[in-house]
Symmetry: C2
């Protein structure tokens, strides 16, 4: 298994990048200290998704920062990414693991406390507690966990847990204090005037835990 | 390699199935004589795509009719489908073949005569000449090949060729006469009052070649 650090996890969104190329956002975020990057694309061709993955891998690999692909096992395989992140509407976990192999990182989004418990029986490497707060980024999710939900989930989970959804400079410290191994952010970095500075500011709050 | 017969190739489209379940359309089409089925889904979750694939495989496998998955290599792998059909905006052919293995069917859509020629150098098992005629089903394609384009493509291709796009009971015989190994149809079967009868009628025209 590739070692990984969930503490500051960037999830990409080209729509929230203010027209700047994803490579720029990712490269700046890396300078600011992100520890993992998830490439999430919902509306692009398989070829574009693949090529974007190849380009991000070239940026991340030399820095030893894992590149995780959202949902698409085939893109993760094709790019030889470091891992795959699946949600409850994606491929079943066992199938993802079967084709991904033991040496790749497999993450799973959980949307309820019950799913946190179910995940304890699954061969995943981390869980994503989603969403912590209401967010416009994802619309198909359950009731937000809130800070107390994060605390309960982290206590219950046998897997490392990253929190996602509405996380920013204002609430990162609280989330880490509740027991999360890290925060996953989208707009807090991608939409920032300086993705590097935004990442660095978040990083400081996490390091204080 | 699994033997396959391109002669009457159903490509699914739930939006054109008049509200009837895909399993019904496929089962009826099989009774009518389709020789291959491609599951094409553009707007559903990976889990739904996978589960649909599993259900179609149960219908097709006992009849020895190959199930081909459109675009999504991961779904083809997860379902253990008989093959994958990729377009020019999907994963590169070599990568699809690498993960699919030698024993599965790999089809490639070609949209120009130049792509027919390029496909001769690729490790694919058949090409899909697309579109023959203008069609509302796909919007992102090049100028239609027309009957003469089909003839030229079939003469040029070293791979078996199936024609797709605007094909129905009126033009099937002509397309076969131009050298195509088969016709791929969407609405001509899926939107028919009786998908079985529609398939059987097309089948007769193909058998006459």
């Amino acid at each position: 298994m590739i070692p990984f650090d969930l503490s500051l996890y960037l999830v990409t969104d080209r729509d929230l990048s203010k027209g700047r190329p994803l490579e720029y956002i990712v490269a700046e975020a890396v300078k600011g200290g992100v520890t993992m990057v998830q490439l999430r694309e919902k509306d692009c061709s398989s070829r574009d998704f693949y090529e974007l993955g190849v380009r991000l891998k070239k940026i991340l690999n030399p820095q030893n920062i894992p590149l995780i692909i959202n949902d698409r096992l085939d893109i993760a395989l094709a790019v030889d990414a470091d891992g795959l992140h699946i949600g409850q509407s994606d491929l079943p976990c066992e199938i993802a693991r079967q084709f991904l192999g033991k040496n790749k990182i497999l993450g799973l989004s959980v949307e309820t406390i019950q799913q946190v418990e179910e995940a304890n029986a699954l061969d995943v490497d981390y869980i994503g507690i989603s969403p912590v707060f209401a967010t416009p980024t994802k619309t198909d999710t359950f009731t937000p966990f809130g800070l107390e939900g994060v605390k309960a989930s982290c206590a219950l989970s046998k897997h490392p847990a990253v929190a996602i959804g509405g996380i920013n400079i204002e609430n990162t410290a609280e989330i880490i204090a509740k027991g999360a191994d890290g925060v996953a952010v989208v707009s807090a970095i991608s939409s920032a005037d300086s993705p590097m500075k935004a990442a660095a500011s978040l990083k400081k709050l996490i390091a204080k835990k």
